[in-house]
Amino acid sequence: MSEGKLRTGRFALALAGTFGLVYGLCVLWDYTFPERAVRQVWQDLFPGFAWTLEGVLLGLGESLLYGLGIGLIFGALYNFAPSQGVSIARKNLLAEKTRLAISVGGVAFAVLLILVLQGLYQGWDRRMGVYIEQTPADIWVAQEGADDMFHSMSLLPANLQERSEKIDGVAEVHPLHSRRYAFNIEGEEALTVILGYHAEEGVGGPLEMVEGESIPGPGEIIIDRAFANKYDLHLGDILTMEDKDLRIVGISEGTDFLLYQYSFVAETEAQALFQMGDFVNYFLIRLEDAGEVDIVTDLIEAEFAGVQAFSREEFADTSRQLLEEYFIPVLAVLFAIGFAIGVAVIGLTTYTATIEKSREYGILKAIGAKNSDLYRILFEQGMIVGLLGFGVGAALSLVVNQAAAKVVPEFLTSIEPLDMSWVLGASLLMSLLASYIPMRRLAGIDPALVFKS
């Protein structure tokens, strides 16, 4: 059997070596030409990678492990699949094209469902933090317990501004006013979060304009496109807040958070509207040296009781956690459903195919096939169906995402190469699970039956 066999161990080591070498070259390149660094492209592949000695070594270890893992898996698959002989699996699959289409469709559907959901989730997850990340502040100060912009309302005394300005390392402090509010639009409650916009400092404003003015004046408001679409609002329409009329002068995007969207009024307007008096919702701090974030947050928390200070990344992360808390369980259930549908469809088609072909499996046994030879046929069938299904599903998901982004801009998705690889793994696993029941059936076939005609 040695002909055409891959020496898995050596192959895996060679692959690990190659991966390590390529990794080393990438690191060397970025080190030598920092202004042309390309690590944005690859560093996400190496969890824990950082531009420190430990981080770089960790990345090296991970690249070696990737090579080893891929080499071992590929080698095992290559050797287990019948390499040069006749592929009974392929012949059987091709002889039943309708059945093949159904099984491939089952996997493709599951892959499509999982990838689109995953893409949606990631798109939203990214968006949840994007507003905070794009606001030019190094530190967000909030009332203790108000860990994010969505869950809870933070209230801070206005005089904290002067006191924080005195802290070492602080360059500027800006108050941010926000209020959750439900406009009454033709009897419907339209929930939004209104932010007060300091146009000069660029704090509290819209992210990206779609149309109209980008700075709201007195009596004016900018709303999110998703909000406008949902309630059929247009430039020039009037929204009323406690007897005060606000005219829509701009429509922006990038601040749609599923349950509600951000709207923007002038900072002075916000103070008056919200009747905040001596209170502020958040303080946004810019530092003299952005590298001192940790030191300054500690100083602030030590200085003021009942106050929490977050670095920009921390605050963005806690905002993202909201989505994670609500949606990960839902996603998990939907993933499981997609997976189960995939397994059921392939399982059913493989099972019926096996029963129909059970006499032929009996013939194979009679002329000398071991059970493992027959399992190999099922295994190969599963692999082919899994790979084809993944290919079709992945291609469809890209098309669906593109089309959806064009038709419904709020439909925000992002599919990453890494997702593709775990979904590929999942679809192969689906196919393998689905071949398990027919396998046991194969083991029970009595070869002596083939003498009966």
Binding site: M1, E3, G4, P82, S83, Q84, G85, V86, I88, K91, N92, L94, A95, E360, I363, L364, K365, A366, I367, G368, A369, K370, N371, D373, P447, A448, V450, F451, K452, S453
Partner: protein
């Protein structure tokens, strides 16, 4: 040494009052190149006997040896490889894989035995060409005639150079002329390749070339008269079997010899 040897083999299907004694106390010995014919009415236990000789069914009693190796003592997991390497099967209903071409059907046992690539292809093609199927290599079974299918099955049976061919009514689904050709092939194989051929058949003409002829009834074997010519004789198989002008041709119709001996 005998290629195949059965010692007092008995097979009882089922238990208690539903038990059926399909084969009872059968002993046999087949030498290399020898042709053994088993005849007998339907339900007499011929297929059961062949299944046991082919390591597909375990006897209730008795011992079976292939090339001196006692297969009745082998583990279940060793039997497939034994069937693959040592035994070639030819069935009444051909039993080809329907989605595979003639060539691919022959390649399958080769590949399980570790013969792959161009070597396997050459061997499979050689066998098929030898059996007169040179222009049918890439046909699916559905596009072949009965005789062609059975010849593909014979090529498949020969793929791994087995020592024994077990053929259960190989001509049962063929017309007389085609059946005649297939039997001639099996005889030639026994002679040319020194393969022991055990044939279960109702075709009384085979008795002319078989060295051993047995009559089976109610699970018991009784010797019937054989000509004993086999392939040891200097007369070529073609002349002995199916030849039109020689006296052996007429002997084929000498039916009474094939009744069981008293």
């Amino acid at each position: 040494m005998a290629t195949l040897k059965l010692e007092n083999v008995t097979k009882i299907y089922g238990k208690g009052h539903t038990a059926v004694k399909a084969v009872e106390g059968v002993s046999l010995e087949v030498a290399p190149g020898e042709i053994l014919l088993i005849m007998g009415p339907s339900g007499s236990g011929k297929t059961t006997l062949l299944s046991m000789a082919g390591a597909m069914l375990r006897p209730s009693e008795g011992r079976i040896f292939i090339h001196g190796q006692e297969i009745t003592r082998m583990r279940e997991s060793q039997l497939p490889t034994l069937r693959l390497k040592e035994i070639g099967f030819v069935f009444q209903s051909f039993n080809l894989l329907s989605n595979l071409t003639a060539l691919e059907n022959v390649l399958v046992p080769l590949s399980w035995n570790g013969t792959n690539g161009s070597g396997a292809r050459e061997k499979a093609e050689g066998l098929l060409v030898d059996l007169g199927l040179g222009d049918r290599l890439h046909h699916l079974p559905a596009d072949l005639s009965g005789g062609e299918k059975q010849r593909v099955a014979i090529a498949r049976a020969l793929a791994n150079d087995p020592k024994i061919i077990l053929a259960d009514e190989p001509t049962g689904n063929l017309d007389s002329q085609t059946g005649h050709e297939v039997t001639r092939l099996l005889c030639r194989i026994a002679c040319d390749r020194k393969v022991s051929v055990v044939i279960v058949s109702h075709d009384q003409r085979i008795a002319d070339v078989a060295q051993q002829v047995w009559w089976m009834e109610d699970g018991r074997l009784r010797p019937a008269q054989a000509t004993g010519l086999g392939c040891e004789t200097s007369v070529p198989v073609e002349a002995r079997y199916g030849g039109k002008n020689d006296d052996t041709g007429s002997r084929m119709w000498h039916v009474p010899r094939l009744r069981p001996l008293p």
